[in-house]
Symmetry: C2
Amino acid sequence: MVALCHPSLHLFFYPSSNFRSSFYSPYKTPISLPKLCASLIAREEVPEAEEPPLPSSLRGVDRKPSSIPEGAVTPLSVDFNAWYLDVIAKAELADYGPVRGTMVIRPYGYAIWEAIQEYLNAKFKETGHSNMYFPQFIPYSFIEKEASHVEGFSPELAVVTIGGGKELEEKLVVRPTSETIVNHMFTQWIQSYRDLPIMINQWANVTRWEMRTKPFIRTLEFLWQEGHTAHATAEEAEKEALQMIDVYKKFAYEQAAIPVIAGRKSKAETFAGASCTYTIEAMMGDRKALQAGTSHNLGQNFSRAFETQFTDENGERQHVWQTSWAISTRFVGGIIMTHGDDTGLMLPPRLAPIQVVIVPIWKKGNERIGVLSTAASVEQILKSAEIKVKIDNSEQRTPGWKFNFWEMKGVPVRIEIGPRDVANGSVVVSRRDVPGKLGKDLGISMEPSVLIAHVKSTLEDVQASLLQRATLFRDRNIVDVSSYEELKEAISEGKWARGPWSASDVEEQKVKEETGATIRCFPFDQPEGSKVCFMTGNPAEEVAIFARSY
Amino acid sequence: MVALCHPSLHLFFYPSSNFRSSFYSPYKTPISLPKLCASLIAREEVPEAEEPPLPSSLRGVDRKPSSIPEGAVTPLSVDFNAWYLDVIAKAELADYGPVRGTMVIRPYGYAIWEAIQEYLNAKFKETGHSNMYFPQFIPYSFIEKEASHVEGFSPELAVVTIGGGKELEEKLVVRPTSETIVNHMFTQWIQSYRDLPIMINQWANVTRWEMRTKPFIRTLEFLWQEGHTAHATAEEAEKEALQMIDVYKKFAYEQAAIPVIAGRKSKAETFAGASCTYTIEAMMGDRKALQAGTSHNLGQNFSRAFETQFTDENGERQHVWQTSWAISTRFVGGIIMTHGDDTGLMLPPRLAPIQVVIVPIWKKGNERIGVLSTAASVEQILKSAEIKVKIDNSEQRTPGWKFNFWEMKGVPVRIEIGPRDVANGSVVVSRRDVPGKLGKDLGISMEPSVLIAHVKSTLEDVQASLLQRATLFRDRNIVDVSSYEELKEAISEGKWARGPWSASDVEEQKVKEETGATIRCFPFDQPEGSKVCFMTGNPAEEVAIFARSY
């Protein structure tokens, strides 16, 4: 395995041109900067090597390429797509289902989704939403009721035509999203303003018959949550749509360590049936954009199509104002493609199913019992502090194999315990994000309070470091453009282009056809001062971000 | 609303004939018997009344029938099915979906399912299982691979024939259960004995095209968990299948307060594709049986059909031994039909989304602020003890309306706070399961430690009381039979019949045709001594339980 440096690490230390990097980082997670930067700079100074750093060379652990489990991944810089698929296979995140475009989410990949669910589910409840469940079969006629909705979704539908051995009178759509059936029910539940707001969410599977699929990113069936709300006023609905995109943004920054850019979609990119779509856009390791979560202000589009009305305080009948918002298993793909490296997956500690792996190391038979029992007591110490810890004491594999395997799985922290550690009452703590000696803390006492404090602070450091790296990478790869030529150049280099835009849908389409880039969003954070559209020379109110995307 | 006494309460105090009631209650949850029995007996002694008891008559709360929210439910004794559907509608548990036989699970009903999930999910992980997710679309050909599986499921399939606007080459089944696709994947993941056991679970929706549907009990689409395991030996698989039915049984007793009978299915009632099915059978309020959870020993049936093989320690190729096990949203229906009464739903505290509702009561405007602020501080006190509490301080409804509403919703404990309570620093605590004065504790101090202890102990009393009532009801309605005539009589009275059985499948079918009853199970708990089959007069090894069922 050839462990190349991250292809764009050298970009981290050049200052951004027009925008300070902090300008687009509204969530300033407290970061212990001196320590972090030291490790980053130190990493930067390591000369590029043909051989991977051997973090355990001190103790003679075999890390030769031949000991790598089931072969290495394709280097990220050589073929990003092949690297992505290799990581998914070798870290045992997912597998292909028997039907084209479907995916089996394996336990380790599903555990990341469970961590996402746990956080978001609590936030949804805190913000006043209740979970419920709508059937997945929707009468075909429902989809046709909202004009732009049917236009957007009809090419992607899976249709049930046979039930219980008989041809069905009305074909049933397997839900691609639930706005239509939700409105059908809301119409029955809502009579007066006293019934409002309704604020609900469901965790469910959805089906979209996609032609080009990719595990996690775009699959025929995927898992998601979809929130649906109904309000008495346009203002309330707008406030809700903005609140939920903010919940997503905080989640991305604080849990996934992904510095997304939040903003508004252009008309062309708005959800089929929405008045306005808000989005969080993430930059992947290949610098393509990933739409990682959306929140729609649906206006009265669905309530007019389904006659979802209420009697207001003055006794007048009005259509409700609605929102919907979703995050899906696609986000797991976003985590892989944001943080992974040539060694494999790299997980943010707050979402990692395993935060610490303990690898016991012994050579002579008489060392075995002491090492294993010490490892078990370290495991108990960390468990008592609610750290997610796993001990790998299988005897079929060498320590070197285990190091590689758990690095591939992206476990943020490894604890090594050998006979000398047992004698000294100390352990070695290694960070997944900093290879080699630099990422190792030797001689950490096993005294519970010391060990727990050290491990917790290391996990926080890794969490902050991942966000900082990703933020630096993002900001180095956004180019401010003031002409179409500059945009074309930035896009051709694989970067994102940001510039003032007030041109037409036709011109937006032209950019897409000529460069492959679309407007990802008009970011909420806008530079001050007057602006001139880079395409038309007319005044512009906002900058837009253009990029190629997944 | 006419609140009749539970139709079978009078049956509680007659001793069972051959079997002591404790014989079939292996989970002897500690119950504070003297107090409980006192309340039961006291309830028993209340003469049947045309009018409901007025638990709040002391304070002049209006409980006249006219104040009942959206009308009362059909009395349980008049029409059990209508009562069930009324409770589901009025307690806002579920609604009908637009497609025949589908159900929308509303927030309150879904919250019960979430409580079930929370408990079981933790137990599955404790017993070594990981969650994952398999696609719901299964190639039609998979279903046909296991002979008895296709026979059992093909009449119930929903089939997708169109995807992305085109007729599909191979039709896709919307999963009715996942054994086939699970085995397809296991075959790829399992090579050697080192890969075993595999122990996984998924929370998912499944589809069965049922002709006669009923909310929660039998719907076209339902939610469930399905566990799937693969083992190297027959013994391990058998142990696993038994372990999981025991997890379900403990859940039913300890969380849902449902005294299920666990046992083995007859051959005719075994899951399509299993070697052996274990079940927990619950007696509903109308004395029909509900199959509330099953665990299957699949033997090598699916591994032979899908060639799921491993190399054992001797280098020999063997087929794996498997299990699968499931509990579904049907269980919510079981809770409703076990504990509900003419006042509505009655929830076991451990699964209740709201354990305590606080109803503030005031008449004069100057009492309002004091009552509301006291209610809010009581709410905070209970929240601090992790009691699930809700305060109903809406001003659009009277206290009487609220009493009825939250009783309909089955909230186990109500706290009433009026101006006199504020002055005295005390509250009134009322139990949902004991109507009238007998269920009321007056003058409970608001001092946090006193109040918390009192509420917690009341919740535990309600939990234990529900299990005790249901157990007494069950045992009074199981008749030990020693002839077919006795069985016919018991079944015609709506009871369960239990008797020694060693007759043939043909004779089992005859019983079904002539009485409507099926063998629910051969219970694990068997009476001692030699037995004679009540049908044939031949020796019998076991007693079987016969009943009409859902």
